[in-house]
Symmetry: D2
Subunit: 363 residues, 4 copies
Amino acid sequence: MAGNSFGTLFRFTTWGESHGPAIGVVVDGCPSLLSLTEADIQPWLDKRRPGQSRYTTQRQEPDQVKILSGVFQGQTTGTPVSLLIENTDQRSKDYSEIAAKFRPGHADYTYWKKYGIRDYRGGGRSSARETACRVAAGAVARKVLGEGVSVRGALVQIGPHKVDRSRWDWAEVDNNPFFCPDPQAAAEWADYLDGIRKSGSSIGAVVEVVASGLPAGLGDPLYDKLDGDLARAMMTINAVKGVEIGNGFEAATLTGEQNADEMRAGPSINNGLGEPEFLSNQAGGILGGISTGQDIVVRFAVKPTSSILTPRQTVDLEGKDTDILTKGRHDPCVGIRAVPVGEAMMACVLADHLLRQRAYARG
Amino acid sequence: MAGNSFGTLFRFTTWGESHGPAIGVVVDGCPSLLSLTEADIQPWLDKRRPGQSRYTTQRQEPDQVKILSGVFQGQTTGTPVSLLIENTDQRSKDYSEIAAKFRPGHADYTYWKKYGIRDYRGGGRSSARETACRVAAGAVARKVLGEGVSVRGALVQIGPHKVDRSRWDWAEVDNNPFFCPDPQAAAEWADYLDGIRKSGSSIGAVVEVVASGLPAGLGDPLYDKLDGDLARAMMTINAVKGVEIGNGFEAATLTGEQNADEMRAGPSINNGLGEPEFLSNQAGGILGGISTGQDIVVRFAVKPTSSILTPRQTVDLEGKDTDILTKGRHDPCVGIRAVPVGEAMMACVLADHLLRQRAYARG
Amino acid sequence: MAGNSFGTLFRFTTWGESHGPAIGVVVDGCPSLLSLTEADIQPWLDKRRPGQSRYTTQRQEPDQVKILSGVFQGQTTGTPVSLLIENTDQRSKDYSEIAAKFRPGHADYTYWKKYGIRDYRGGGRSSARETACRVAAGAVARKVLGEGVSVRGALVQIGPHKVDRSRWDWAEVDNNPFFCPDPQAAAEWADYLDGIRKSGSSIGAVVEVVASGLPAGLGDPLYDKLDGDLARAMMTINAVKGVEIGNGFEAATLTGEQNADEMRAGPSINNGLGEPEFLSNQAGGILGGISTGQDIVVRFAVKPTSSILTPRQTVDLEGKDTDILTKGRHDPCVGIRAVPVGEAMMACVLADHLLRQRAYARG
Amino acid sequence: MAGNSFGTLFRFTTWGESHGPAIGVVVDGCPSLLSLTEADIQPWLDKRRPGQSRYTTQRQEPDQVKILSGVFQGQTTGTPVSLLIENTDQRSKDYSEIAAKFRPGHADYTYWKKYGIRDYRGGGRSSARETACRVAAGAVARKVLGEGVSVRGALVQIGPHKVDRSRWDWAEVDNNPFFCPDPQAAAEWADYLDGIRKSGSSIGAVVEVVASGLPAGLGDPLYDKLDGDLARAMMTINAVKGVEIGNGFEAATLTGEQNADEMRAGPSINNGLGEPEFLSNQAGGILGGISTGQDIVVRFAVKPTSSILTPRQTVDLEGKDTDILTKGRHDPCVGIRAVPVGEAMMACVLADHLLRQRAYARG
C-alpha cells in the first residue's frame, strides 16, 4: 500500500526509479515565507552526488534540482514544493543478467515476490538513487529548522576501523572523501578502502548524525517518540541494519549509576535562563521520547554494498540454481554517501516535530 | 500532538497512567470472526506481570484484563476491541521527593518541559506500566497472525554477559526468570543479577525477537518498510536505545562477500513449491524493506533502570542543585520484562503488514 | 480496517456497543494545562441524553462520564484522556426478531455482509448510542477552543416544516425539546411530532451548527480543507444523508453576482485592527477551504428513524422473504438528538484545525 | 500543514499552481501488474480539458499527461506513479489588479490570511486547474476498480433548471457540452447559459455521480464510513458547497415508511446467488457507512464562478475600499467541468475502500 511518504506535519513523498526519466519529491506542509531557491538545495545534493571520488560509484549524474511548485518570488507559499531531478546517465546496457537472476543482498527477490514485476534496471525503485530525493527534502527541512539549528553527519567506522573520538573535528568532515571527522583515520581508511575497491569487494560502515540547537520538548510519546521516529527514519535508508540513540547498544553493558545523565543548575540557570545543564549525554538528547535540549545523537550501521565482483550463488526466475556477479559502477562503501542522507532524514524528522511542538506552544 | 496510536490497518491506541484508576488499549482494525476471550490475552499479561521473581519489581498487580467491546459471543465483530486493566497496587506513599526533583535518566524533566505539568506518581504516563497495554494488543495481533506464525523473544545479554548461541534452546526460555534461551547463562546471570539487585544498582540488557512462519512480501517501501516499522516499534518501548535487524551493527564490519545471503533452489523448489532457499540469514529476513519469508530477527538494547539507590546529582523544580535516590520497587534489569513487550510489538507490526499485504494479494 | 478515530492533531477514538458493558472515547492530542473535570463534560452529555422528553427514546441512561486518564489535579497533562460511560439500561429482551432479520434502513445488512457477524442487540456498534462518545470528545474540544469561541446547533427543519429565520433566537434553543430557535415553530412541531409519534412513524430533520469567534486561516487545502473535514465529520453521524456549507445547495441556483460576499474596510480596519468586513456570508465562513473569520455555518439532513411500527418487507438470514416491524424505544425524530452531536463534531474539527494552524503561526 | 494527499491505501498527492511550469500528481498504493499507459489517462483529461465549447473557459491547455515513474513495460510496478502535466497557456498579462485586491468568492483573502503570501497568477494553488490532477488520479483508480465497475457523472441542474429524470439517458451525456443526461434539458440549458455568458455573469449547478458494479461491504465505520469519505472528497472540489448521498436533503422531509429501502429475496437469491434485492435506493447504496451493493449515488452543489464582469465591492491589500471585476477567460458555469472531477474523486474513494476491504476478505 501507499508507503512513500514520511512525516505528519512536514511530510514528503518521493517517487521515481533509478533508470526512469526522473526522480522527485513533493514536500507538503512546508511553512510559507521561507526563502527558497534551487541554490538552497543544490549544495546538499552535490554532497551526496555520485562520482566525486574513487570511493563512490562512477555514475555521472548532475543531480540538478528544479522547483516546480510551492515557491513564488523566491519564497515558499505554504503549498506543496515539488522538486524534480532528471536522470541523465542511465547507461544503456544489457540488463538480461540481473533481469533473470536475483542478486543476493539486493531487493530483487523481495520486490519480485511482493509485486510480481520489477523494474530491474539499476535496481529500479530500490536503488539508492532515490536518496537524492531525501536529501532534497532535507534541504527544505533545514529551512524550517532555521539558522540556529545544525544537523551534521560523519562516518565513524568503516569495516572494523573506527574513528578516534579524541581527534574528532567537525571541520575535517569536508576535507576528505569519507566525511570522516578524524583526519588520521581518514588517511588510513583511504588505503583500506582502495584495497576493498580493487578487489571488487565492499565493506560496511557506521554513520553518526548530531543535531544541535534544538529546544527541549520535541517528540510525542508514546508512539510518536522522537527516538522512535528517528529509528524509523534511519532504518528506511538503503542498506541500514541498525540504529542507536546516544550510547545505544553500549547502554546494555552499563549500570544505572554509569548511565545516569546527572543535572546541575549551572551558570545558565543561575543567570535566570531557566535551563539546567546535563553533565553527560548518554541518552543522546532524548528521555522518554522527548528531546532534552542537548545534542541529539543518532548512529546507524550500513551493510556492505551487495554488488560485488565475486560470484555468489543464487537462483534465476525459473528457480534454477545459478551464480551472479555484479559488474558496473558501484560504491565500495555505500555508507559514505549515506552521511548526507542520514543528515537529511534527521532534519526532516526534526522539522516535523518542531512544527508539532509549535502547535502546542504555551503563551 | 496525538501520538498514542500505532499501526495503520491494525491500529492500537493506549491510555492510562501508572497510578490512575486503570490503563487500557483500544485495538482497531481487528478482523472479524476471530475467537477471542480474556483467556487468550491473560497468559501474555501474566508473562509480563511484575512481582514474579526477585529480579523484577515487587509491585503486585494482577493485571486482569477485561474486554469491554468488539467481541460478541466469543468472536471479534470487526469493531474496536477495548481492553481495560485496573491499577490495584498504587501504593499510597509520599511522592514529594520525585514531585519536586527530576530523576536522571527518567522522563521527569522532558515531560515537565513539554507539558508544564506531570503526573509524577510512579512515572505517570512514562511508566513501563503502559507496556501491559502493548502486551494485550500483541495478544490480539497473534490472533490475526494465526497459529502458523510464532513470535518469540529471549534475553540474549545482561550487562556484558551474552548467551552462547550454540546452546540456544527456545524451550529453556520459560524455565528461568530471565527468558534466557541458554540455561548455563541463566544460572550465571542469577548470581550476577543478585549482586546488582543487592547493591541497589541496575544493569542493561539486550532482547532478541524472532518471528517464523511469515510469507515473503510484507513491508511497503520506501517509508513503510518492514524494518523501519520494527525499528520504530521497538524504539518506542521504555528504555530502549538501539535496534538491529539481522546481523545489525555487525554488518558494518563485513565485506559484501561475507554479508551475502546466497540462495539455492533447494528441495522445496524442486518439489514445485516455488520457494528458493537462503543459505544464511544475515539480513534478518528483510531485504529492501520487504520480508523474504525467512525468520525475521530483531534485537534491541535496553538501558539500565534509572531508578537506583545511589544518590545522583540533579536539580529541583526551582532549578536548585540537589541529589536524588529512588527508593521503592524497581526492576534491577528492566530488560527482562521487555521480552514479552518486544514480542507484542513485533506481533502488532506483523499483523498490520499482513493485512496490508492481503489488500494487494493477487488472485 | 481501523476507522474509529477522527482528527489529526486533536484525535479521538471511540469504542463500544449499544448493549455492551460500556462505551468510551480516548481523546489524544489534547493540550496540557486545560482545566478539565467530569463536570465540564457532563452537561453536554445531559443535553444529548435520551428520555428527556416524549420526543426522544425512553431508554434511561444516566450517561455518567468518568475520566480514567490524562488529567492530574484537575488539569490535562497532554496524555490521552480516556472517558468511559457505562451502559446501564440494556433492557433484557428477546432479540431473536432483529437477530434473524435485516431491518430496512438500518446497518444490519451491511454489517452482516462486511463482517459476517454482528452484535444485533440494540444495533450494536451502529447504534446512535455511540454518539455520546462524540459529545464527550466535543466537550474536551470546547476546552481547546476556549471561552471566546461558541459552537451552537439548532434544529431548523422537521419534515417539511422549517423555522422562520426572521424569528431566530439562540436563547430559545434550550426552551423547547427540539433545540428550535423559533418558538412559534417549536409549538407547531410539538403537535406535528406528536402525530408522528403516536402513529409509530418517524420523520427526518435538518440541523444547523454555527461556530463564532474563530480566526481566519483554519483549513489545509487542498484535501484537508476545513469544509471537507466538516462534511466528513457530519456525514459520519448516524442517519445523516447530506451536508451543506453556507448557502449550500441554494448556491446552485444563484448567479455570481448574487453569491459574492462583498468586502468593505469597515470600522475595524479603520481602527487599525486590520480585518475587513464581509457584507454577507453566502460562503458560510469558508473560502478555498480556509476560514474567513466569519461565522462558520454547516447544515446537515438527518433521515427519519428507520425503526417504525409499520411492517416493512425484508429478508431473513436464510434469504427468505419476511416482514419486520421494530418495537421498542425509539426516537420519532432522531434529528433532535443529532443537534448536540453536530455541535460536538464541529468543535472537534475546529480544535484540530486550530492546533494545526498554531503550528504554522508566524511570529 | 500537509494537506495535499487523499486516501489511505490508494493515496494520491497533488502539487502545482495555475501558472507555474507544471502541475502533477503522485499516485501511491496502486497495485502492481495493472496495464497503464498515458493513453489510459488522456481521454479523462480531455473530457475535463478547457476550451472545448463556448460554455467553458477559453484557456487552451493540451493537458498532455506524462508518466514519470511506477510503470515498467506498460504495467504498474507497485511503486509510486508520478504524473506530470505541463502548463502551456499561462497567458502573460497584467496581474496587478488581482495581486492587490481580494476577489469576492475566491480564496484570495483566505490564502493571504493563512500564508501571508499568495501566487495570485490565475489563482495559484486554489485554481480549478489543479482538478486535472484529480482526474489523472481517477483514471488510475478506474484501473484498480476494473472493467466491471462504472463511475459515471452527469450535470443534473443549472441554476434553477433541473433535468427531467424520466428522460435520463446516460448515452446522452457525451452528446452535449453539459454532460447532461436529458437531451431536452441540454437544449434549454444552451440558451440559458448563452444568456449568462453574454452578460458576463455565471451560474451554479448540481452534479450527480453514480457508481455501479461494486460489492457490498465497502466502508469502515464509524469515522471512515464510505459516505463520510465521499462527502469529504466532493467537498474538497473547487466551488462545491453541498454534498448529498442518495435522497440527501429530501430525506429530511420523509417518514420512516417512505424512506425505507425494503428488501426481497428476489430471483438471484432463489438462484442461490445469495444476494437479496432492494426495492428502492433512497439510501444511495450506503447503510451505516457501508455499501449495500446497490448503485452508489452522490450529488454535489457547485456555486457560480466567482469571476464575473460586474464590479463587486472589496478591499485591497492596504485595507482600502475598492471595486473589482474579473476579466479574462472564465467558465460561466464551473459546474460543467466539475462532472469529470466528481467522477474521478468517487473512483479514488472507491479504489481506496476496495483495497481496504480486500485486506479483510474472508476465504
